[in-house]
């Protein structure tokens, strides 16, 4: 039951491609190296829950390099995001809520101020649940959100690894995501900023170069030729040695 793929304004792409593009996009825009993968996973979970992650990162691209990923505690129930998007501080928020709920032994409520796109928190329920937290967004608009959280310990590893990140992620693995064609390829090409420009020198950092006796590169061969040349050289060396 396969349909044909045709080029329209919308296209489908896979979870893997999401990770590929979003991860690189974050790197290409200067995200701190150790934050990129965690934020990529936040965005993936949010995307699976209905958040338009591609638009989310594209609209915040200029700020990515400045992400610290951290929240500042203003008082026991107020956190400041310093103008970062909700997805950028989500890992820290979930951790702080976990610690607070654990310490309190009861549901806790916190306000997060100075957020960009506070509504995105509404798409982080699965992300939080996998980490043992039942997260409820009480209200979220503009730059502020009020959230409630209670510990919801995970019942150990799921029997099926496909379900490890919730039913919506499981569905995403099968169905993929839909995106605007132009936006997808725009981000795809922009994400290549994380790659290193090609050069004659960098081409020697892979492949099989052939060098002369002085070590100068005199050419490049495919694996067959290299093996053949080397086997001939070994045989010649043996003959010479005898």
């Amino acid at each position: 039951m396969k349909g044909t793929t045709s080029v329209t304004a919308s296209m489908n792409f896979s979870v893997r491609e999401f990770r590929h593009i979003v991860g690189r996009y974050l790197h290409a825009h200067g995200c701190r190296p150790h934050l990129a993968n965690p934020l990529r996973e936040v965005l993936l979970s949010a995307q699976a829950s209905g958040f338009d992650a591609l638009t989310g990162i594209e609209s915040s691209s200029a700020a990515i390099a400045g992400f610290t990923g951290g929240l500042t505690l203003v008082d026991t129930e107020v956190l400041d995001a310093a103008g970062q998007p909700a997805y950028a501080v989500a890992p820290d928020l979930v951790d702080r809520l976990l610690v607070a709920a654990h310490a309190a032994g009861r549901p806790v409520t916190m306000t997060v101020r100075n957020l960009v796109g506070a509504e995105a928190l509404g798409h982080l329920g699965d992300y939080a649940a996998v980490r043992g937290l039942a997260l409820t967004v009480l209200d979220a608009a503009g730059s502020e959100a009020r959230v409630s959280a209670v510990l919801a310990p995970a019942a150990g590893a799921p029997a099926d690894p496909r379900d490890a990140e919730g039913a919506r992620m499981t569905a995403a693995l099968t169905a993929g995501f839909d995106a605007d064609v132009d936006q997808f390829w725009r981000l795809f090409h922009e994400s290549n900023g994380a790659l290193t420009p090609d050069s004659e020198l960098s081409r020697q950092h892979a492949g099989a170069q052939v060098r002369d006796a002085e070590g100068n590169v005199i050419g490049e061969v495919d694996e067959e030729s290299y093996l053949y040349i080397r086997s001939q050289a070994e045989q010649l060396a043996e003959v010479t040695a005898r």
Binding site: S202, A208, D222
Partner: protein
């Protein structure tokens, strides 16, 4: 010339069980490179499934002109499922072939899809395949595949068949392939199906099995292609002898990208390797009775392994010389037969006796050979257990003391590496803008982009130092709140807690680091390639997929018999030429 150390040089003072399971002994790159293909390797495992489930193969059509242009369709029936392998042939352009992924020049492009494909499916696939990352696979596509011909062997075979005779078997056997893999992509790439989305009873749901199955079909295409081209030259051309069809595999070249794979998929690596080693421990403790069919089959397998390695024509650089491994395996057979002559024995006893006697690589071949003693159901359990979630999650409620203890017990190797030593940070790993080729170069020669290396020693050392500023009963959540930039390494450590076979114990930035160690681990042990030879300059490994394996015709006819009997094939140098 490579050195060949006795196994005991590396595995000193430990029991066989420790040698097989202790991460400190197993995760060293020089040990990983020695791990042998086995029944749990993807190529062998999918072949075993094909045999036990009696898959059948049909060549629906093969319409290729004298310039190699044209289409082919193979249909596979696997139980109640059908798979189509759609192949498109192109006239080869043999100029500037390097085998690198920077090329855009393929002799065959194909797709493995679920169900019977339609004309429209194949038309769209033909249009999309050449676009690679800019292309979209049709729904139900498992893999996209590409291959190029061996310019040494291909013409020789076509000419011989057109001349009414068989090709020179020794020449063909030494090359080992007619076409080589230049790309096997699935699991979501190009919008192919994600393997985690495959149903419980899907025959290709194990990691990498869809890709290796595609290679099996590429092998069929390659042998069909030489026959078709020979017939174009001479309608009286002969077919390639069945024993020669079996002899050739699919060539393969792998390089630095496999280190990125290992670094990115620690859960998968750990799950698979743990299952492999546990299965070997279990198998090696099975008693093998003297005179039993199992005993004779095991001896026969090792005898063939000895001959196979001895006959290997390749020259190895970083790895043990094949002839040394062959001689060592002959010694292993001597010891095994001696033990069996004295009564029942076990693989464990044999491995213990072999430690001071044979090279590490030979020891690992013997260890892997014990898996042949296991019932197929046990192997299936091990393979199924290799499907795991790969989530990286932190545990902020854990104590700093717990995290500290984990670093000490599980990452002692990383803490011990001196990252300030000369050469410790010599290399940068990156991906080129040109076709995303993984590369490694001296830091002074790389401009732009980012360093994609996993610098685990530095990350672990930095974290350990940072934790010194906290009390033991402080929560990890406090550390994360104070230092959000440490999230990635904390997530990695905590999500892999209690496991040990996930990360090679290496500093991949080091000037002395040899990438082929890990590349070969993947190609040989995980993928199941034979003759995995380092090409020189320590970053490329060549190998052969399905060398000597049954063909589609063998499988369809149901004449495979015991699959273990196909391992370590002898070259049919006596294949007769007929007109």
């Amino acid at each position: 010339m490579s050195t060949t150390l006795p196994a005991a040089t590396i595995l000193t003072g430990s029991t066989v069980h420790q040698n097989l399971t202790d991460p400190a002994l197993l995760m060293r790159p020089e040990r990983l490179q020695s791990l042998s293909p086995s029944r749990l390797s993807a190529a062998r495992a999918i072949l075993e499934r094909m045999v036990t489930e009696q898959w059948t193969f049909e060549r629906v059509f093969f319409e290729v002109n004298e310039r190699s242009e044209g289409d082919a369709l193979y249909r596979v029936r696997a139980g109640d499922r059908v798979f189509d392998f759609i192949a498109f042939g192109f006239e080869p352009d043999l100029t500037s072939r390097t085998g690198r992924i920077t090329e855009r020049n393929w002799d065959m492009m194909g797709a493995l899809v679920e169900g019977e494909s339609t004309d429209a499916d194949r038309a769209v696939t033909r249009e999309e395949l050449p676009k690679l990352y800019a292309g979209r696979a049709i729904a139900g596509t498992l893999t996209w595949a590409r291959s190029n011909r061996s310019f040494r062997a291909f013409e020789h075979v076509v000419a011989a068949l057109a001349d009414g005779r068989q090709p020179e078997a020794r020449f063909l056997g030494e090359i080992g392939y007619l076409m080589r893999n230049t790309g096997l992509d699935g699991n979501g790439t190009f919008n192919t199906r994600s393997f985690l989305a495959l149903e419980d009873d899907h025959p290709l749901r194990d990691p990498l099995h869809a890709q290796l199955f595609s290679a099996f079909l590429m092998r069929e295409y390659a042998t069909d292609l030489v026959e078709a081209l020979a017939r174009h030259r001479n309608p009286q051309a002969v077919a390639l002898a069945p024993e020669l069809r079996r002899m050739v595999g699919i060539g393969n070249g792998s390089a630095l990208g496999l280190l990125f794979y290992v670094n990115t998929h620690p859960h998968l690596v750990d799950a698979w390797l743990s299952e492999r080693q546990d299965a070997i421990v279990e198998a090696s403790r099975m008693t093998v009775a003297a005179g039993s069919p199992e005993a004779e089959r095991w001896c026969s397998l090792l005898e063939r392994a000895a001959a196979f390695h001895t006959a290997d024509p390749y020259v190895y650089h970083q790895f043990a010389e094949a002839q040394v491994v062959g001689a060592d395996l002959a010694r292993a057979v001597e010891l095994l037969r001696a033990r069996l002559a004295a009564g029942a024995t076990t693989g464990e006893a044999l491995l213990e006796a072999l430690l001071p006697e044979v090279s590490l690589e030979a020891w690992e071949v013997v260890a892997a050979s014990t898996l042949e003693l296991l019932p197929v159901e046990r192997v299936r359990v091990a393979l199924d257990a290799g499907i795991v979630a790969e989530s990286m999650t932190s545990d902020p409620l854990a104590s700093v003391a717990d995290l500290r203890a984990r670093l000490a017990s599980e990452y002692g190797w990383a803490l011990a590496i001196d990252m300030t030593a000369p050469g410790a940070r010599h290399y940068v790993w990156y991906k080129s803008a040109d076709a995303e080729e993984p590369r490694r170069g001296p830091a002074s020669e790389v401009a732009g982009g980012r360093n994609w290396a996993l610098d685990l020693p530095t990350d672990i050392q930095r974290l350990a130092a940072l934790l010194e500023g906290y009390a033991g009963d402080d929560l990890v959540g406090m550390v994360l709140a104070d230092h959000p930039q440490e999230r990635a390494v904390i997530e990695r450590v905590q999500s892999l807690a209690g496991r040990g076979l996930h990360s090679p114990h290496m500093n991949m930035l080091d000037e002395e680091f040899v990438p082929v160690s890990v590349v070969r681990f993947m190609n040989a042990a995980v993928h199941g390639l034979d003759r995995t030879v380092d090409e020189g300059d320590d970053r490329n490994v060549l190998g052969l997929i399905f060398l000597g394996a049954p063909t589609a015709a063998d499988l369809t006819a149901g004449t495979v018999g015991e699959l273990a009997d196909w391992r370590f094939p002898a070259a049919p140098f006596s294949a007769a030429a007929t007109v």
